[in-house]
C-alpha cells in the first residue's frame, strides 16, 4: 500500500484530499491528512466581522466535515518533515511515512516581526486576519470615539492583498452610514508604490481611495510601532500617528517549514511556478499560501492550482512528465462599500484589466469597476466556498487558466 500525506486541512489541503481521493486507486493508495486543529474558517469572512456583517459561526465549521470519509485525518501538531526519509514526524517521535507529500500549511500573521507592535496589541493595534482579531475589532468599534484610523500593510506578500483596501472602504462606508464620517480620518499606509502592485488596477483603486477621502501613504516600510505615543515609524524615519491602527502584520509560512529546512526567509516553500512541485524534492508538492510563488495568496488561486496539482500528482505517480499548467491565475472580488464591489482577474503575465467576466461583452460581471453584481458575487462566494470549492467541484465558466477574451487595455479603443 502506498501513501499520500497532505499537511494542512485548510482550503488547499481539503480540496486536494477531495480531488485525489477520486483519482487514486484505493486498492494501492491511502491518503492521510494532518492538521494541528479541526476548525476551518472561511478566511474571507474575517473582513466582514468587525463591521457586524457576519458572525463567527457563519464562517466557522469543522475541518473533518469537508474531508472524504475514507481519508485518515490526524489532528496533531507536526514536529517536522524529514524529506530524506520521506516521513512526517509528529511530537513524541511518531513517524508517518509517505510516498508523496503535499504541503498546504498556509501562512499566518507574525506581529512579533515588528518591534513594538505587540505593545498595543488589541488595545490600539488590531489585526483582522484572525478570528480573535476580527472579533476584538468588532468590540473596539462599538466604543470607538473617532479619530485617525490607520489601515496598514507591514510587508509584502500578504494573504489576500486587496483585503486592507476593502477594510478601508468598509470603514468609510460604515462611518458614512452612521453619519459619523466627519469624526474619522482614514489613512491607508502601504509599502507598495501605489494602492495595488499592478499599474492599471493601482490607478483605479488609487482614484477610488481619493474619492472616498482616504489618505494614502506609499513606499512606507514600517520599522517599528510606538504604541505609547501611537505612532508608526518607517525605516526612513517617517512617522504616521494613529488612534486606531488596523495592521496586516508580516505574513509567514508555518514554523514547521523552517524546522524542516524547506522554507525561504519567510518560511515559504520554493516551488516550481508552473508544475507546483517543490524545487528541492521530487516527491513533495506545495499549494496555496505555503508556496513562494509570485501569485496572490488567495482562495481562488488555490482553486485554480488544485486541478493542475491533482493532475501533476497523478503524473508523478505514473512517472510521466509534469504539466506546466499553472499560469498564476487569480480572481478576486474587492468590496468597495456602498453595496458595491470590483472584480479583478489576472495571472503571472497579465495585470488586472477592465472588461467583462466571464464572457466577453455580455459579462455579466464588469471587471475593475464598482458594481452591485460584483458585491453580490462576493457574498455568494461564501456559499460556493463551503459547497463547491472545498469539495473540488469545478466552478461553472471559470477555468483554471486565465482567459484574455473580454479584457481591454485602457489605452486601446
Amino acid at each position: 500500500m502506498k501513501k499520500l500525506v497532505i499537511l494542512g486541512a485548510g482550503t488547499g489541503g481539503t480540496v486536494m484530499a477531495n480531488l485525489l481521493n477520486k483519482r487514486l486507486d484505493k486498492k494501492d493508495w491511502s491518503i492521510t491528512v494532518i492538521d494541528k486543529d479541526n476548525v476551518h474558517y472561511y478566511q474571507p469572512g474575517f473582513l466582514f466581522i468587525p463591521f457586524g456583517f457576519y458572525t463567527a459561526d457563519q464562517i466557522t465549521k469543522e475541518k473533518a466535515k469537508f474531508l472524504p470519509k475514507n481519508v485518515e485525518f490526524i489532528v496533531a501538531e507536526t514536529e517536522r518533515i524529514d524529506p530524506k526519509n520521506n516521513a512526517v514526524v509528529l511530537p513524541g517521535g511518531k513517524r508517518i511515512s509517505y510516498d508523496f507529500l503535499i504541503v498546504a500549511t498556509g501562512a499566518d500573521i507574525q506581529p512579533d516581526e515588528t518591534p513594538g507592535m505587540r505593545d498595543g496589541w488589541r488595545e490600539s493595534v488590531f489585526d483582522f486576519y484572525t478570528i480573535e482579531g476580527s472579533l476584538a475589532l468588532a468590540e473596539k468599534f462599538k466604543t470607538f470615539k473617532g479619530g485617525t484610523i490607520v489601515v496598514h500593510i507591514n510587508e509584502m506578500p500578504i494573504k489576500c492583498p486587496v483585503a486592507p483596501l476593502e477594510f478601508a472602504f468598509f470603514c468609510d462606508w460604515c462611518m458614512h452610514r452612521k453619519k459619523r464620517r466627519g469624526e474619522v480620518e482614514l489613512v491607508f499606509v502601504t509599502p507598495l508604490s501605489g494602492a495595488f502592485t499592478k499599474p492599471v488596477a493601482a490607478k483605479k483603486l488609487g482614484a477610488l481611495l481619493e474619492e472616498r477621502n482616504i489618505r494614502t501613504i506609499t513606499d512606507f516600510s514600517a520599522e517599528r510601532v510606538d504604541a505609547t505615543h501611537k505612532k508608526l515609524i518607517s525605516y526612513d524615519s517617517r512617522e504616521v500617528s494613529f488612534d486606531l491602527l488596523v495592521t496586516v502584520p508580516t505574513n509567514m509560512g508555518a514554523e514547521l517549514i523552517e524546522r524542516s529546512g524547506l522554507g525561504d526567509e519567510l518560511r515559504f516553500i520554493p516551488t516550481d511556478p508552473h508544475t507546483l512541485r517543490s524545487k528541492q524534492h521530487e516527491n513533495i508538492f506545495a499549494i496555496g499560501d505555503a508556496t513562494n510563488l509570485p501569485s496572490s495568496k488567495a482562495g481562488s488561486v488555490v482553486h485554480f492550482q488544485s486541478e493542475i496539482l491533482a493532475a501533476n500528482v497523478v503524473r508523478a505517480i505514473e512517472k510521466k512528465p509534469l504539466e506546466e499548467g499553472f499560469d498564476g491565475h487569480s480572481n478576486c472580488f474587492i468590496e468597495t462599500g456602498r453595496r458595491k464591489g470590483i472584480l479583478i482577474d489576472f495571472n503571472y503575465d497579465l495585470e488586472p484589466l477592465p472588461g467583462r467576466f466571464p464572457f466577453p461583452v455580455i459579462g455579466p460581471l464588469p471587471l475593475l469597476k464598482p458594481s452591485r453584481l460584483n458585491h453580490m458575487g462576493k457574498l455568494a462566494f461564501r456559499w460556493i466556498y463551503w459547497h463547491m470549492l472545498l469539495k473540488g467541484k469545478p466552478i461553472p465558466f471559470i477555468p483554471s487558466r486565465m482567459r484574455l477574451a473580454g479584457k481591454k487595455r485602457p489605452d486601446q479603443s
Binding site: 509584502m156 506578500p157 492583498p161 513606499d219 526567509e265 489576472f346
Partner: protein
C-alpha cells in the same frame, strides 16, 4: 529595448533603467547609475550589498529581498535604508545590474 550610453559602454536597459543583461555590468557602470540614483560614492558597505545580491541572483535567479539580506547578516534593514535612501531594494538592484525586484501580488 532601450539602450543607454555610459562612458564607453552601451548597455541594454528596460523602461525603468534596469539592466537587462548582467554581462554588460561593470563597476564604472555601477558608479554612474549610483550617481543617477543620488548616491555620490559607492562605499565598501554598498559593495558588500551589491556583490552579495549579484552572487545570490546568479545562484537563485531572483533578486534577494531586504529580509534575506537582513536575515543572512549581510546588512541590517535600517542600515540598508540609510545607505540606499528611498527604496533600497529597487536602487540596490539597479546599481547591481539586476532586474527589477519582482513585485508581489
Amino acid at each position: 529595448m532601450p539602450k543607454k550610453q555610459i562612458g564607453n559602454y552601451t548597455i541594454d536597459v528596460d523602461d525603468e533603467g534596469f539592466l537587462t543583461n548582467l554581462a554588460q555590468w561593470n563597476k564604472d557602470v555601477a558608479a554612474v547609475i549610483a550617481k543617477e540614483e543620488g548616491i555620490a560614492e559607492l562605499t565598501p558597505a554598498h559593495w558588500k550589498v551589491i556583490e552579495f545580491m549579484q552572487k545570490d541572483f546568479k545562484e537563485n535567479g531572483v533578486v534577494p529581498t531586504i529580509r534575506k539580506l537582513n536575515k543572512l547578516g549581510v546588512i541590517s534593514t535600517k542600515e540598508l535604508y540609510d545607505i540606499f535612501p528611498g527604496g533600497p531594494a529597487k536602487k540596490a538592484a539597479k546599481i547591481a545590474g539586476l532586474t527589477k525586484p519582482a513585485g508581489c501580488v
